[in-house]
């Protein structure tokens, strides 16, 4: 078994040696072993897949670089070029097709390529067309222009402070402002009149220095003031007309304006910003595109330990978790505040934690520094199942698609497990240091709202109310629906040398789902196997997420014309799927084969097995005898047809 590092090295060597087939196998091996690829490796993997004709898989790797912190300009160049070389069929996996025309005052050729990659990451197959730059005014006003000939779904307006023809006047700044706003409104009106395209307007990134120096911000009519006011006015007017406004100035500030602006790029090629900032702009604009196409994420699914507080509540207890004081504690608390703010603007919250439910709830109920409360959450999933299973349930309960969810977890292995199992769920990459959590969430662009109304504020509340109601009334329906999709398969097998140890283990340690709790050692089980009057078998269960292994042991003993169920036990891992009915069916079949007329069985109560007190009643057995100890005896004729719904396919081996 080659180790992960070796596999990665071999993949890289295979790429250098131009043997993409080998590279693909090595990358797959690396990923299957739990390896995490760097941005450069993702692009190389994509190239390997593309060389092998697997363009859809190539696309899957390319879009990963959009969010990775180690992606840089060169990565984007390589990735977008590789994207352009993929067959059209690769894009069929994306959920939306959009034709975007970019109208700009600067050269957007490379920006358009990056936008296409960023859009693909958001699930959009974008055809990005440019028009000769600085023609935005003429093109929008002229009904015969090629802008309209393209029949765009989206028109993206990208002005730049140098060339947008913005008039500055210190004498009548208010008038200058209005003139500039109106000019842009003319463009919008013309586009609206002549097409059905959705419009996205980029604001102006404002350079840090002004001819008035540091006073510039305070002097009406200074360039800085004018552009700032212009941005505000445009944003307000855009909102009134359902035009998406991108706050380019804020994006540039976040990136660092010293690095954002590069006059050389303007002088050489009329590109408004440094080439290194182009990916940032493309990523943000793609997120706005996605929001307006209804593809935003709507729900944060949150881990608890080391995500909402420092430490593990199950181990550290209420006094041991870090929240509220100390640098760590403050960071976690701020993270909670940001999450709460998102909830207040309409984002749905859910918990998905590996914990005992009561323990997971403790901080919410008792820790004084918690900002988030239980009623902020529409769903609270705490269990020991895999996160991907729990997240599926979250989506079911909320009745929203997996592609509406973003999973937030400090543990990269959980993140990768969910990413692999549920590719439609988005993953927020939290940094290692909790001090960076709040910023990481603020920088996550895929919760963009297309607009914000009072309904959005209420939405969180609506989901919580709805989901509580559903849990009470519809649980049966949603559970059945969920189970029907699990592809559960039970395999009934005889006991043999290989599984004997596991069978004996189950017989001796199963307490809850155990009708009679009859303990037997290895010798005794072997003796049973030899008896003619005994049917002993086991069942394995697997579903679409996992193979749960050997989970049932059943022993039936023939007594005259009855087959008595001596033992029926089940691992608590798979309780709740009606597997026991399948087992009883099998026992009934064995009884039939023996010529028995009925199946009988005792329920012998213990401190731990109240769970199965009603198993026989539920399965259509009739009560024959009840003793003072609480023990009950039941029977069911072999001829009885037990028509229960089951979502389990049965195999025999």
């Amino acid at each position: 078994m080659r180790d992960k590092a070796e596999l990665l090295q071999q993949a890289r060597e295979a790429m250098n040696a131009r043997t993409p087939g080998t590279a693909v196998k090595c990358y797959e091996g690396f990923l299957a072993a739990g390896g995490i690829l760097s941005a450069v490796d993702h692009v190389n993997a994509a190239k390997a897949y593309a060389a092998e004709g697997s363009d859809t898989l190539a696309l899957k790797h390319l879009v990963r670089i959009v969010d990775l912190p180690d992606s840089n300009y060169a990565t984007w160049v390589k990735a977008s070029r590789t994207l352009d070389s993929l067959a059209e069929s690769a894009f069929e996996s994306l959920s939306r097709r959009l034709t975007i025309v970019v109208l700009s005052t600067w050269n957007t050729r490379e920006y358009a390529q990056f936008l296409r990659l960023a859009a693909a990451r958001c699930g959009i197959a974008a055809s990005v067309l440019e028009t000769p730059y600085a023609q935005y005014f003429n093109f929008s006003l002229d009904p015969a222009s090629e802008l309209y000939a393209h029949e765009p779904d989206v028109v993206m307006l990208c002005p730049d402070y140098r060339a947008a023809g913005v008039t500055v006047s210190t004498e009548s700044p208010e008038q200058a402002l209005q003139e500039n706003v109106q000019r842009w409104q003319l463009v919008w009106d013309a586009i609206r009149r002549q097409s059905r395209a959705s419009i996205i307007q980029l604001g102006f990134a404002i350079p840090a220095f002004d001819e008035f120096g540091h006073l510039g911000g305070g002097i009406p009519g200074s360039k800085a003031q004018l552009f700032r006011n212009l941005n505000l006015e445009l944003a307000g007017e855009a909102r009134k007309r359902d035009i998406g406004f991108v706050d380019t100035d804020a994006i540039a500030a976040q990136f660092g304006k010293a690095a954002w602006f590069d006059d050389r790029n303007w002088y050489w090629a009329k590109i408004a910003l440094s080439s290194r900032a182009l990916p940032i702009l493309a990523r943000q604009c793609a997120a706005v595109l996605a929001a307006r196409a209804g593809l935003s994420r709507r729900c944060l699914v949150l881990d608890l330990d080391n995500t909402l507080w420092g430490g593990v509540i199950g181990d550290d207890g209420l006094n041991g978790i870090r929240l509220g004081s100390g640098p760590d504690g403050e960071a976690y608390q701020e993270f909670q505040r940001r999450i709460k703010a998102l909830a207040e603007r309409g984002v749905i919250l859910a918990v998905c934690s590996k914990n005992e439910p009561a323990i997971a709830r403790e901080p919410f109920l008792q820790h004084p520094e918690m900002v988030l409360h239980l009623d902020d959450f529409a769903v609270f999933e705490a269990s020991w199942e895999s996160k991907s299973v729990a997240i599926q349930r979250v989506a079911q309960l909320l009745n929203i698609g997996l592609s509406s969810l973003t999973f937030v977890d400090d543990n990269p292995y959980e993140r990768e497990q969910v990413r692999a199992a549920l590719p439609d769920v988005d993953i927020l990459n939290l940094p290692d240091d909790p001090a960076g959590y709040a910023a990481a969430l603020a920088a996550y662009p895929y919760l963009e709202l297309p607009s914000f109304t009072a309904e959005d504020r209420d939405r969180g509340r609506q989901y919580r109310a709805r989901s509580a109601a559903r849990e009470l009334k519809d649980e049966a329906a949603s559970l059945a629906d969920y189970q029907s999709r699990l592809n559960m398969v039970a395999t009934i097998s005889p006991v043999n040398q290989i599984n004997l140890d596991r069978v004996v283990q189950l017989i001796n340690k199963t307490n809850q789902f155990n009708l009679t709790t009859r303990r037997r050692n290895r010798e005794e089980v072997i003796q049973l196997l030899a008896r003619e009057d005994v049917d002993i078998f086991l069942a394995r269960l697997r579903d679409c997420f996992a193979d749960h292994g050997l989970v049932v042991v059943a022993i039936g003993i023939q007594v005259e014309s009855s087959l008595e169920i001596d033992t029926l036990l089940m691992s608590c891992r798979v309780i709740g799927r009606d597997l026991e009915r399948v087992v009883i069916d099998e026992l009934t079949e064995r009884a039939r084969q023996r010529g028995c007329t009925e199946v009988r069985g005792w329920y012998l109560p213990t401190e731990r097995n109240a769970l199965v007190a009603d198993l026989y009643a539920r399965s259509g057995f009739e009560l024959v005898d009840a003793e003072a100890t609480g023990a009950t005896l039941w029977r069911r004729p072999v001829a009885t047809v037990d028509d229960h719904t089951t979502f389990i396919t049965v195999e025999k081996s």
Binding site: V77, N265, W268, A269, I271, R276
Partner: protein, 80 residues
Amino acid sequence: MDQVKVDDRLTEIFRTVFEDEALEVIGSTTAVDVEGWDSVAHITLIFAIEEEFGFQFSSRELENIRNVGDLQALVSQRGR
């Protein structure tokens, strides 16, 4: 800086920008020798080199680049 390593890193950038995994460049290689090396590709090249080596070319330096050898020399001198 180790010249060999510089040359390797530069070659890698050329391969990315010109989409040719087999591309080899030597000191005397000029724009006419490489398919697709137009002014737009030139900008991509410059920005990628600046990012990789952590410095910025001055306009004068850029004006005086005649061939790959000039680039290699500048990068060795200025780069990290």
